[in-house]
């Protein structure tokens, strides 16, 4: 039963990773692409971490999974801000392709 729930979480996490990648490819400019990467991939990793955490045996493993997730959550928001700021300041605002 636990395996099934974990598999469900991991599978839905994968769906969000695919969505993030589709957004990265389809969205028109760098800022919209950042939305796709930070939000969809962030939730994708959270769901996968949840699923893997359910399967993990030891508290140490669960802690490490949680650590990975929290590091990524902080890093992705900060990095997307830095990328967006750089793009803004180098004059990419409103550039479509």
């Amino acid at each position: 039963m636990l395996d099934l729930i974990a598999a469900f979480f991991i599978a839905s996490g994968t769906v969000f990773f695919v969505a993030g990648t589709v957004g990265l490819l389809r969205f028109p400019d760098i800022f919209c692409r950042l939305h796709a990467l930070t939000k969809a991939d962030g939730l994708g990793l959270a769901l996968i971490a949840l699923g893997v955490g359910l399967l993990a045996g030891t508290p140490g493993e669960i802690f490490r999974i949680a650590l990975v997730w929290s590091a990524l959550a902080v890093a992705s928001a900060t990095c997307s801000h830095l990328v967006a700021r750089y793009a803004l300041r180098s004059g990419m605002e409103g550039r479509d392709d």
Binding site: V15, F16, A19, G20, V22, G23, R26, F27, P28, D29, F31, C32, L34, H35, A36, T38, K39, A40, G42, L43, G44, A46, G60, F63, R64, L67, A73, V74, S76, A77, T78, S80, H81, L82, A84, R85, A87, L88, R89, E93
Partner: protein
């Protein structure tokens, strides 16, 4: 153009090297920057460099121990890594002291989980939709939260809300990128600001004028 901006991830405002708590002779805060009145005097005094170093060592040691399953032979790398890591905060400008409200943190974590799911579902649906309903653009928002942890939390959380992405901070103005500029931005940010104030046990800020 970037010359005035120090390499700080989410705050391009000038950062004094010392907190006001360490330098009582420093001028008062500029107007418009609200300061947490509930900050206890004891919390400010506790943040001496030695205390900060000891706290960093403690936290990093716990992380290292959990990462290596408390293996003794890993300490060959662990001790230097922890000491180096703990020294890094001493090189950075001191941040303003802050504290968390437990109730605010629990409420915020739950709300954050729901919002990040909403944000991800929203962007995923837009990515998969054949016609891609996007109407991207920028909006400016005046930051009312105090500098430091509350503002960083605010700016980073915006990126995980549905349809918004914090793009740039200039002085006290945050530039937000929106996937759909027809969405209402200000109510969402005002709500987030209230939640951040609860999280950090800050007093209510100036009234929202709109």
């Amino acid at each position: 153009m970037c010359a005035t901006s120090p390499l700080r991830p989410v705050s391009s405002a000038p950062v004094p090297g010392l907190t006001l708590a360490d330098r009582p002779d420093m001028p008062a805060d500029p107007p418009g920057r609200s300061v947490p009145a509930l900050r206890s005097r004891g919390a400010a005094q506790r943040r001496t460099p030695l205390r900060r170093f000891a706290l960093s060592v403690l936290v990093l040691s716990l992380i290292w121990g959990a990462l290596t399953d408390w293996r003794a032979d890993a300490l060959v790398f662990g001790v230097p890594a922890v000491l180096l890591g703990a020294a890094i905060p001493l090189l950075l400008p001191d941040s303003a002291p802050w504290r968390l409200s437990v109730r605010g943190a629990v409420l915020f974590a739950l709300w954050f989980a729901v919002q990040s799911v909403r944000g991800a579902v929203d962007v995923a649906l837009r990515a998969f939709a054949p016609r891609m309903p996007l109407c991207p653009g920028f909006r400016d928002h005046s930051l009312r939260l105090p500098q430091g942890a509350p503002r960083i939390m605010f700016v980073n959380t915006i990126t995980l809300l549905p349809g918004t992405l914090s793009a740039e901070i200039r002085d006290d103005v945050l530039r937000v990128h929106m996937l759909d500029t027809r969405m209402a931005l200000e109510p969402a940010l005002a709500d987030l600001e209230i939640r951040i104030r609860q999280l950090f046990a800050l007093p209510d800020g100036p009234e929202v004028s709109s």
